[in-house]
């Protein structure tokens, strides 16, 4: 027997509506369901507020922890690249692994690299670029000798690039017209019993593989707080290094400091596009040039991800608990909705809507709370010196105990997105439970 026989047309709406009619019907019913969801959220105000608070605080913590982590990483990267080879390094292909003078950039390559750095899509993003001629060697005084890294530098350009010139403990930093001056760490000065004006000898292998010595005089001493730098770094004028090491017009690295670490990938791409065809030149990002710093950031990120994962679980459970309890307490109400003509999926949609509305409200509150607290830290910095006890280094860089949070729009959007997804996912199960309610069973109380 057929399920349908001729009958009077319904009073409202055609039996087989057109696509436009179906769309209007869908919109009408959806707005009614959203309205009902919103009323239900407000109905249990205390429960909704508690759930929202859990989510909002979770998101705020996420925002705070991410901005602080990003701020700390920015600081590590900044101090790491300033002391090392910059955000972007231009070197000879083998230099990263050999560290040998043989793998150096000659005058032709330096000229090509300088031209690439002056390109209109690169130059505006550069804060400073310096040439360095580096070699491993031995520093020896009448008192002692100690292995060191010797960097030949251009003093005026180094002042724009490195924090070292500002960390003078005694004496002064190098000047452009210096010839036989050296700027050394306080650790090395102590070991070799040197002070400004003292003379000592640097010994290294020159470009012709011969051992060569250079007498220099201490211009000043610095202190970074990083033992391996304070004990083992010597800066001398680059022209002195070039002459001593028989590498005229050469450099082992062009270290490039960018305005923002976010520009690294773009600048690397632009430089590679120009220098890939130049023989004997390789462009490296700080991640490639300082893999230990990259690893430190990644390890720290991994710790953050675990913390974020725990937060997500807590937030998800809070929403799940609140919405599910609400569903279980309202079985009869859902039975009534079904009896009034709501479809199963629409009954679920009411519950899902409640979860989504809670999540959206909490998301907005969490972002505001997170930004407000982060703004306070951003203004004053988060001073962790009490916790650190003293100076702390990581992967050859000094960790600043005062962290200034860094806002990254992508990170904030991602955090908000994660919370929204978690809240929405956590609403699916209660919605499914509401859909499965048997109407006759839900109304059983009436019999």
């Amino acid at each position: 027997m057929s399920a349908t026989e001729p009958a009077a047309a319904p009073q409202h709406g055609p039996t087989h509506p057109s696509p436009v009619g179906r769309w209007a019907s869908w919109r009408r019913r959806t707005s009614t369901l959203v309205f009902l969801s919103a009323r239900n959220v407000v109905r249990e105000l205390r429960r909704s507020l508690l759930t929202s608070s859990a989510m909002a605080i979770g998101l705020a913590l996420l925002v705070i922890s991410r901005t602080i982590a990003d701020g700390a990483h920015e600081d590590w990267i900044d101090s790491g690249v300033r002391l090392g080879a910059g955000h972007v390094a231009v070197q000879a292909p083998g230099y990263l692994t050999s560290g040998a003078l043989a793998d150096r950039l000659g005058p032709a390559q330096l000229s090509e690299a300088e031209r690439a750095l002056a390109a209109p899509d690169v130059a505006p993003r550069i804060e400073a670029a310096v040439e360095r001629l580096s070699a491993s060697g031995l520093a020896a005084s009448a008192a002692s000798s100690f292995p060191v890294q010797i960097d030949g530098v251009i003093p005026t350009r180094e002042r724009q690039f490195s924090q070292l010139p500002e960390q003078v403990v005694d004496g002064r930093y190098l000047e452009d017209d210096d010839r036989l001056s050296a700027f050394i760490g306080v650790g090395l000065a102590r070991r070799l019993e040197l002070r400004p004006g003292s003379r000592f000898v640097l010994t290294s292998q020159n470009s012709e593989s011969e051992i060569a010595g250079q007498l220099v005089r201490v211009a000043g001493t610095f202190r970074t707080g990083i033992p391996e730098v304070d004990d083992g770094l010597v800066q001398i004028p680059i022209e002195t290094a070039r002459t001593w090491l028989t590498a005229p017009g050469s450099a082992t690295t062009i270290a490039v400091l960018l305005q923002s670490s976010r520009d690294v990938d773009g600048v690397v791409r632009a430089l590679r596009a120009r220098l890939d065809s130049v023989s004997g030149v390789r462009v490296l990002s700080w991640r490639e040039a300082s893999p230990e710093l990259e690893a430190a950031v990644k390890i720290d990120d991994a710790g953050d991800y675990i913390f974020h994962g725990i937060l997500f679980v807590i937030v998800g459970l809070a929403v799940l608990n609140a919405v599910l309890m609400s569903v279980l307490n309202r079985k009869r109400e859902f039975g009534v909705l079904r009896a009034l003509g709501l479809r199963r999926v629409e009954t679920g949609a009411v519950v899902f809507g409640e979860g989504v509305l809670l999540t959206l409200a909490s998301g907005a509150a969490g972002m505001i709370l997170g930004f407000a607290i982060t703004w306070i830290f951003w203004r004053n910095g988060l001073d962790l010196s009490g916790l650190m006890g003293g100076e702390m280094t990581m992967s050859g860089t000094l960790v600043d105990p005062v962290i200034v949070p860094a806002f990254r729009l992508s990170a904030m959007t991602q955090s908000l997105g994660f919370i929204l997804v978690i809240g929405i996912l956590a609403s699916l199960y209660p919605a499914q439970q509401a859909m499965r309610i048997d109407v006759a069973e839900a109304m059983k109380f009436e019999r």
Binding site: M1, S2, A3, T4, E5, P6, A7, A8, P10, Q11, H12, G13, A24, S25, R28, R29, T32, L36, R39, N40, V42, R43, R332, E333, V336, L337, R338, A339, L340, G341, L342, R343, R344, E346, D438, V439, A440, M443, F445, E446, R447
Partner: protein, 240 residues
């Protein structure tokens, strides 16, 4: 055979609940027709199958076998979607415990099905005002259910059931939670709606007053029709 000349028609209707130790036959081969505009009471002891039959007529539960015709459609064969649509447009429900949606005002409760059906706001307002005046709850439109008495809540529930001009209104013990005065007033309201608008009412009830005022009394025993009595307005048997 078409069911369209009747408000409701069932043919050899069975509802069997599979449970241990033995299946329960809640409805056993019920065949009946309810004419449009009738005012019918389903009576019988507890467990006789009144509520189950009402649920079957309203499409709230599916029959084990047999046919249920409402507004020209055998609802036993309708899809979930079509059944929901039929409930929305053709069937009104009144429950013992009123079951108004607590988050909505009296007006919003009463017009909920109209909202889902896309009735324009002005039309909704006009209908609700007229209906609330008609059943004596005008002035209570903006109150939430918690701020209404039991009788007022049940009137709002009746308004919700009839506002969409359904083919049938199914009322499960509508007076069970009300005192005698309120029950009598509510019955008057439903009688008036039946008389003025030709709305078909089917009650499941234990209440002798409802049975007395019904036009037809169907007595169920153990899930089967034991007696089917046509009555006059004083509750006296006219035909059997």
């Amino acid at each position: 055979m078409s069911g369209s000349e009747y408000a409701v028609r069932t043919v050899d209707l069975w509802k069997i609940y599979e449970q241990e130790p033995a299946p329960v036959q809640a409805i056993r081969g019920v065949t009946l027709e309810v004419e449009k505009g009738d005012f019918v009471a389903l009576a019988g002891p507890s467990g006789s199958g009144k509520s189950t039959l009402l649920n079957l007529l309203g499409g709230l539960t599916r029959p084990t076998r047999g046919e249920v015709w409402v507004a020209g459609k055998n609802i036993a064969e309708l899809s979930e979607r079509a059944l929901s649509r039929l409930r929305l447009e053709k069937i009104g429900f009144v429950f013992q415990a009123y079951n108004l949606l607590p988050v909505l005002t009296a007006r919003e409760n009463a017009e909920f099905t109209l909202l889902l059906r896309g009735v324009p706001a002005e039309d909704r307002r006009r209908r609700i005002e007229a209906l609330f005046r008609d059943i004596g709850i005008d002035g209570l439109e903006d109150r939430r259910p918690a701020k209404l008495s039991g009788g007022q809540q049940q009137r709002v529930a009746v308004a919700r059931a009839v506002v969409g001009e359904p083919s049938i209104v199914l009322a499960d013990e509508p007076t069970a939670n009300l005192d005698s005065v309120t029950s009598a007033a509510l019955l008057e309201v439903m009688e008036r709606l039946n008389h003025q608008h030709g709305t078909t009412f089917i009650f499941a009830t234990h209440d002798p007053r409802v049975m007395e005022r019904s036009h037809r009394l169907i007595r169920l025993v153990d899930g089967a029709v034991d007696a089917d009595i046509r009555q006059n307005v004083h509750g006296e048997a006219a035909t059997t």
